[in-house]
């Protein structure tokens, strides 16, 4: 169960890593999530999710030299593994099936 299941926050983090490419590290993910979900996300929560996802084999990480904006400190950069990519596809497929099954009214177009 644990290996397959993705919590909502884990899903967000996984998607963020996917979208960020080379910028996928702790603060980068936190920044994106704070902006997109419009809620306050603690750094510890981001690390926890990243570590869990790595533990599940959906992500892998490597140490990369730091930029001057972070005082030259190294950063841990995350990438999707093949199972990670598959997990995203699976989640999306599940969601799409569920949306199709549900009698949802079409969302109003925003102007």
């Amino acid at each position: 169960m644990k290996g397959a299941h993705l919590g909502e926050f884990e899903e967000f983090v996984l998607l963020a890593v996917h979208g960020l490419g080379d910028e996928a590290y702790g603060r980068g993910v936190q920044r994106l999530l704070e902006r997109e979900t419009d809620r306050s996300v603690s750094l510890g929560a981001v690390y926890a999710a990243l570590d869990r996802l790595e533990h599940k084999g959906l992500l892998r990480s490597e140490e990369v030299a730091g930029t001057p904006t972070r005082g030259g400190r190294r950063r841990r950069q995350f990438r999707l593994t093949a199972p990670g990519t598959r997990a995203i596809d699976t989640v999306r497929a599940i969601r799409e099936r569920l949306y199709r099954a549900a009698p949802v009214r079409p969302a109003r177009s925003r102007s």
């Binding site: 603060r27 750094l43 510890g44 690390y47 972070r70």
Partner: protein, 876 residues
């Protein structure tokens, strides 16, 4: 320009690093730095909050996991993890009971705020060394009279071995004028040794020296004056300031910490201006200070002074004594401050007691939880630690709020004190919180937290699983006695403080009703000094007054203008003791009385609203050449001449001894309380100001009755002064309405301080009682349940809880009564003018306390009555 630092403080980063495993330090630190940079557009506290939220979340998570073997090896890892866990648990617990948390924090914050403020004042008055070089060697000399200064006594003292420097000074005010400023400044006229005594050197330029011409017009200015009026440049050459219309060369600037005595703005040498100290005819006694040689005690110095005086022709009547300057300066404030500090220590104890009793109450509710946790294997220290952390969190929050409260309170207090003349040794920057006060607050906070955590902590550590689970009763009964005792004490403290506060209130109210003798609420009074240099002759002063009065009358809205030499309240009043005799009385054996001898212009009585009860006020003819001398006396003076006041009008009196000329009494005016509202010091005798009569040293107190408000009247006066003599400046402006308030400085201060403290104490005792009774009710739930199940009367259950509360309150009132008696015994020794509390005041306060106690007991009593027997017994 955004000047926000681009990185979080290094100390914060270091702290976070220390709490992290080495492998993750760089990564986390980098992310935190980036986060800080991303938020540079936000307020500092928001950035700090985000930083600590992130850092905390990372550290907490690291230690929670604890699975990583590398992390296991970290020293204190387990402890940090446990603490982090406890912090989270405590946070949850407190969030679940917001009312409880709020109550505890409020209680602690109020107590800590009040005591930090009080201790800050005590520190300032009692402990802080004066800001001078080796302040313990500076002493103040007493029993040195003005005439002896001329007799060479000071030179004699300065020469002895035990004294390394000696200086004398007079204080006063002068009219000051520079290119950009005309106003009044506080001055000190000092002898050459003065600065040497304090070991202070000018920041720029030089101090006075013996080679200065004693009449030389040189001045040393304070740093503040230098910055304000001389643009603060170190170039001194050619800088001048006009003081009392004479030009002084500015020779030095003092460093900004040096303002002795009494926030002095300008120092002038010796007797350069006799008018400065307010008395040009009589040489007043200077204040004398000395720096003792190293290792010389004040007693040894005094003995040396006496030896120096021995065998001299002009031997002083009394030996000079030396007192440490600090003691001398705080002589009036010391005892009240000590008393206040004692009160505050009691208050702090009461605060801790309240908070502890609340926490104990809360512990009752959580006893089962603690016991279950202990049964499941939680160690005793773990449980105690959890409670202590809860206390620390509450105390920390309260400490921050308390410190802010103290800061506000000190600011308000400093502002209040600044308006009260004659409250010594509390300087204006009392309102600034410095590190010392902040540390003091933190210390108080830590002590309180410790005190208040120990009881509940012990109670928790002694929680006995078997007993509690079996009977549903805890084992903290023993601590209940301690807590109860503290509640009694805090009730007593509240009662003492309430009585002191209401007595102060009664005094203020009583004195506020006293007839001051002048009653025109529209009038505004201000002072004016005519410098002797420009108004050398009496006729020049008279001409000025005449022109000023005439021009003021032509200003719109000005009804009456009057002048005298001494207006209400201002100190330095030259009270002249004179013998007033009727023309044909027996001679010098007639009763002599001290009378304040004033002059008054014709408009003065009407401008101030001083009623003339018999006869008439002065007219323009009085005092003119050719008219006979006339005087107006106040009622007290009139009564000393005749029982029927009106009968005095028309009689002739002789002033002073000998065969001096006589004057006709043309009117009797109301007594004016010139000095203090509580006591009528002397009666008054008014004369018209003429070439030959009237005591005049250049100082005028002018009263204006204006229809358009006091500001318009003062503005009008400024315009008129500008036309007559632009160098003149009016000062000490006060409306008659405000004068009344200024008559009661000490009383109002006592009232302000005690009412704040007593309110805090009252609230604390109510909360403490609530906590204790809640505890009582909680511990008796089972008993009450059984009694109710057996058919006990609900009303009686409720009554028994009330009775428990009442017992505590009555005990508190008893002890408080004794405490009040003692406090006023002490107070009577310290402040002789303090009214003792009336039995009625005491009774009313006891009643107030009782009412508060009943209100505090109400909620627990209701809860007891609402016990559902089924639930109470099922809970077993």
């Amino acid at each position: 320009v955004n000047t926000a630092p681009r990185r979080p403080p290094a100390s914060w980063l270091a702290l976070v690093r220390a709490l992290l495993p080495a492998a993750r330090r760089d990564e986390v630190e980098g992310d935190l730095i980036e986060g800080w940079r991303d938020r540079t557009d936000r307020a500092y506290w928001r950035r700090a909050w985000a930083f600590w939220r992130d850092a905390g979340s990372v550290v907490a998570r690291r230690n929670r996991q604890g699975a990583d073997s590398a992390e296991r090896r970290r020293p204190f890892g387990a402890l940090v993890a446990a603490i982090a866990h406890d912090v989270r648990t405590s946070g949850r617990m407190l969030r679940r009971r917001p009312f409880f948390a709020l109550l505890v924090v409020t209680v602690l914050a109020a107590g800590m705020g009040a005591s930090t403020a009080a201790f800050a004042i005590a520190d300032r008055v009692l402990f802080r060394a004066l800001p001078f070089h080796e302040p313990n060697q500076i002493v103040a000399l007493s029993n040195v009279n003005g005439s002896e200064v001329l007799g060479g006594r000071l030179e004699r003292y300065a020469a002895i071995r035990e004294v390394s420097a000696l200086g004398a000074y007079y204080t006063g005010g002068m009219n000051a004028a520079t290119a950009s400023y005309v106003g009044r400044v506080r001055i000190a006229a000092v002898s050459p040794g003065f600065f040497e005594v304090f070991g202070v050197h000018p920041l720029w330029g030089r101090a006075f020296s013996n080679s200065d011409d004693p009449e030389g017009l040189t001045a040393v200015v304070s740093f503040a004056v230098w910055q304000r009026h001389f643009a603060g440049s170190p170039a001194l050459a050619g800088q001048t300031i006009r003081l009392n219309s004479r030009t002084y060369a500015v020779v030095g600037v003092m460093p900004h910490r040096f303002q002795f005595p009494d926030a002095t703005e300008i120092w002038i040498p010796g007797l350069a201006d006799a008018q400065a100290s307010g008395t040009s005819r009589i040489l007043p006694s200077p204040a004398v200070v000395a720096r003792l040689a190293p290792g010389v005690s004040p007693l040894r110095a005094a003995a040396a002074f006496t030896r120096a005086d021995e065998g001299r022709y002009t031997r002083p009547s009394e030996p000079a004594t030396a007192t440490p300057l600090q003691d001398q300066l705080t002589i009036y404030s010391r005892s009240p401050v000590v008393m206040m500090t004692a009160f505050v220590i009691l208050l702090l104890a009461a605060t801790s007691a309240s908070a502890a009793s609340l926490l104990l109450f809360r512990l009752r509710e959580r006893e089962r939880e603690l016991v279950v946790r202990s049964a499941l294997g939680a160690g005793r220290w773990r449980l105690t630690g959890q409670l202590i952390i809860e206390c620390v969190m509450l105390t920390g929050a309260a400490g921050i709020i308390g410190l802010l409260l103290a800061r506000t309170a000190l600011g308000v207090l400093a502002a209040t004190i600044a308006q009260i003349p004659g409250v010594p040794m509390v300087d204006a920057d009392l309102g600034h919180m410095d590190l010392r006060v902040a540390l003091l607050g933190a210390g108080i906070c830590a002590l309180t937290g410790l005190f208040f955590a120990v009881g509940p902590g012990l109670a928790a550590s002694r929680a006995n699983a078997t007993r509690v689970l079996r009977s549903g009763r805890g084992s903290s009964a023993g601590l209940g006695i301690l807590a109860r005792g503290l509640v009694v004490v805090q009730m007593a403290v509240a009662l003492v403080l309430l009585t002191v506060a209401s007595t102060a209130l009664a005094t203020v109210v009583r004195l506020a009703r006293v007839d001051l003798g002048f009653s025109n609420p529209r009038a505004v009074v201000f002072d004016l000094t005519l410098p002797e240099d420009r108004y050398r002759t009496r006729s020049a002063a008279l001409a000025f007054l005449e022109r000023f009065t005439a021009e003021m009358h032509s200003m719109p809205g000005v009804h009456n203008v009057g002048a005298t030499n001494v207006g209400p309240i201002w100190q330095g009043t030259p009270v002249v003791a004179i013998r007033l005799r009727e023309e044909y009385s027996a001679g010098d054996d007639a009763p002599a009385s001290a009378i304040t001898q004033l002059f008054a212009t014709p408009g003065y009585f009407r401008a101030m609203g001083i009623e003339v009860v018999a006869g008439r006020a002065f007219s323009a003819e009085d005092g003119q050449p050719g008219a006979g001398p006339t005087v107006i006396v106040s009622e007290t003076v009139a009564r000393s001449l005749d029982e029927r006041v009106a009968a005095v009008v028309g009689r002739r009196v002789r002033l002073g001894g000998g065969r001096g000329e006589t004057a006709e009494v043309i009117g009797v005016a109301r007594d004016v309380r010139l000095w203090r509202v509580g006591v009528l010091r002397h009666g008054q005798l008014y004369e018209p100001l003429t070439e030959r009569r009237g005591w005049f040293d250049g100082r005028l107190s002018i009263a204006i009755d204006g229809a358009n408000g006091s500001e318009a009247a003062v503005d009008a006066a400024r315009v008129v002064l500008g036309r007559i003599d632009p160098d003149l400046t009016l000062y000490n402006v006060v409306t008659v309405r405000d004068l009344r308030a200024r008559y009661l400085p000490t009383e109002r201060l006592t009232l302000a301080v005690t009412s704040v403290f007593s309110t805090v104490a009252l609230v604390l005792s109510a909360v403490g009682l609530y906590g204790i009774l809640g505890q009582v009710v909680a511990s008796r739930t089972r008993e009450v349940g059984i009694r109710v199940a057996l058919g006990a009367d609900i009303v009686r259950v409720r009554r028994s809880v009330f009775a428990a509360g009442l017992r505590l309150a009555v005990a508190g009132i008893g002890i408080g009564g004794a405490g009040t008696f003692l406090a006023f015994k002490v107070a009577a020794a310290v402040l002789p003018r303090q009214d003792p509390p009336s039995p009625a005041t005491f009774a009313v306060n006891a009643l107030v306390l009782l009412t508060v106690a009943l209100v505090a007991a109400w909620a627990p009593a209701r809860r007891a009555a609402a016990v559902d027997p089924v639930n109470a017994l099922r809970a077993e």
